[in-house]
Subunit: 373 residues, 2 copies
């Protein structure tokens, strides 16, 4: 593998993953959980997946105050100053922009990649090749995104419209960012051959990104520049406390990437490395290896003395079972259910309704049952 020693890795670790409730909680969001059958958490796996393209000194995690300690413990090799703690959530443009501004003061023409803390990648070597190709595009001055070659007409992701039909191989111009489509539109997108899934991964030179941020979001640029100038110094907390709360809440897609695409500045590299955003339990069930020959998936299981997970299935198939608390989960005569057992809450949900788990969390908040959220 060609190593790209100058790559800075930025990992925005935010969001509570409410569609993975009751496993994922506000206080323990999904990126802090091991969900893949490996002992590594999603955050640790993200750092590990990139460690041949960078070094710990060039790896930064941006996270909220509630999770700073957990992030620090899960990533003991990361220098302390590389955990950037946001005083309050200000959406992805502030998070990624802060990292870009901080990196810019260390190395103004550094190349940085931004990678979500809670995605799965099946083929690490293919992933590394794609990122290296994106780095080459970034060196040329493009704001690179990683586009995933669609495997089906998914309606849960945004899409990238490319300038020409997309075959294997690197760098295409991105003409437009498209919202999550309706089922019909998704079929059109995929059959056209010109659309890729927007995986929310970006690679760019920080000077190019910050110039676009300044052009499109001057107030946000000024605020982040002021914070970055004070970062690590005696006035960091005072400046953060004053400036951060005033930053615009906006996603990086809306704030910068759409306008940059319209200006012809955005390109992409199609990836085929087996990507999944682990958005909900149904998706998770599709990604993981089944536990048995009838398609039951056991996630994140405490092992029993016998080394087997604490489950007992009779005439039960297509289940996604999460025995996090270690209690026995027995299932009889049921199919395609999600069953999650935690210390204080049990969820039983049809797989078709995995997207709606968020509604349960909303209901709990409304009822004032914050202990479960």
């Amino acid at each position: 593998m060609p190593v790209t020693p100058l790559l800075y890795v930025v990992i925005p670790a935010g969001g509570s993953g409410t569609r993975l409730w009751p496993l994922s909680r506000a206080g323990r969001p999904k990126f802090l959980h091991a969900l893949t059958g490996e002992p590594a958490t999603l955050l640790q796996a993200t750092v590990h997946r990139l460690d041949r393209l960078t070094v710990p000194e060039q790896t930064l995690v941006v996270t909220g105050v509630a999770h700073a300690t957990a992030v620090g413990r899960q990533l003991p090799d990361l220098p302390e100053e590389n955990v950037l703690v946001e005083p309050s959530p200000r959406d992805s443009c502030a998070a990624i922009g802060l990292a870009a501004a901080v990196i810019s003061r260390r190395e103004p023409d550094a190349i940085m990649g931004s990678f979500a803390a809670d995605h799965l990648v099946r083929d690490r070597e293919s992933f590394e090749r794609t990122i290296s190709e994106a780095v080459a595009g970034a060196r040329e001055g493009k704001l690179m995104t990683i586009g995933i070659t669609p495997t089906h007409p998914e309606t849960g992701y945004g899409y990238l419209r490319c300038g020409a039909e997309v075959g294997p191989g690197p760098v295409r111009v991105v003409e437009e960012f498209a919202e999550k489509p309706s089922p019909d539109v998704a079929v059109e997108y995929v059959s056209s051959g010109r659309y890729l899934w927007n995986a929310g991964m970006f690679v760019w030179r920080v000077d190019v990104f910050l110039a676009e941020l300044r052009r499109q979001q001057p107030a946000l640029f000024d605020g982040l520049t002021e914070i970055a100038a004070a970062w690590g110094g005696p006035h960091q907390d005072a400046v953060l406390g004053e400036v951060w709360p005033q930053l615009t809440r906006i996603s990086v897609d809306y704030a910068v990437m759409e306008g940059a695409a319209a200006a012809g500045l955005v390109a992409t590299v199609p990836g085929t490395f087996g990507w999944n955003d682990v958005g909900d339990f149904d998706t998770l069930g599709e990604v993981l290896e089944p536990y048995d020959e009838v398609g039951n998936v056991v996630v994140n299981a405490a092992k029993t003395d016998s080394g087997e997970p604490p489950v007992l299935f009779h005439d039960a198939g297509g289940l996604i079972v999460v025995p996090e608390s270690g209690r026995l989960i027995a299932a009889l005569g049921v199919e395609n259910l999600i069953i999650v057992d935690t210390e204080d809450a049990v969820l039983v949900c049809h797989r078709d309704r995995a997207q709606d788990v968020k509604a349960l969390v909303d209901a709990l908040k409304e009822q004032g049952d914050h202990q479960y959220v």
Copy 2:
């Protein structure tokens, strides 16, 4: 209500209720649980239901060594000597016969009724009327059973074939005890108007019963008579230890009632008091008042601070939910499931498979997972 001061009440409290696993366990069988929404356990409710027909001094419980302490604590008004503890399970004829033999030594022509510890009765006054009518039949020298007027062609119960069509009102001759029927046969039984459900409740003079026991099962009669003679005396334990293990394991239906019916000695009173044997979670769900207007039933719930049970249902109907551990149970987009949460095990089962929960318990035993049984 006419009180029948001479009625002795015998409650065989055995069986582990494996179809109610994981709520019901070998160490904590169903009769020790409150399942009706009332604080009383099934055992306590059984004693309470009969307390206008008897007195604590004439109420006896026959139970196993594992449950003697719990029985004693749940029924503090019962004299100690009225808890008859079986050294090992020897089926219902030994249990009921022991009680009959012990009562016979106190009062040879006493009338005794035997009532399972784990059944539900909806209309107590109607139940009392039926028992009083059975007592009248027992005085005349019949071995009385309580027959339940069928409400549907149930295949899970045995039936009583009566000598003539059964209308409202008391005492009919029972010609035959019929095994659990196939669905077709059950329909025939119910449409014939001559069959009643066998509720496993008996009322008889102990002298009549013991005479039939002596005639049909002389060895069992001799053994029980020897034990009863030593009961409460200095040699009780020695005699029990020697004689009890040799007693025939046989149900009272097979041992005595079928032969007595053939001899014209058995009669019945049709009951319409809303009876249920709480054999499994599906049955339990049919008996209890729903929690909401879409037919969800919440059993045995620990109350939260708000006074509400810890459940959250979205687009979920026809569920039977048992939040025994007090954890929150959330259900989304599912129907007709049984969801039981206990300290160490969770069950998710389709209501149609409620009868097969026993198979899970068998599997756990086979695997050596006795901690869950």
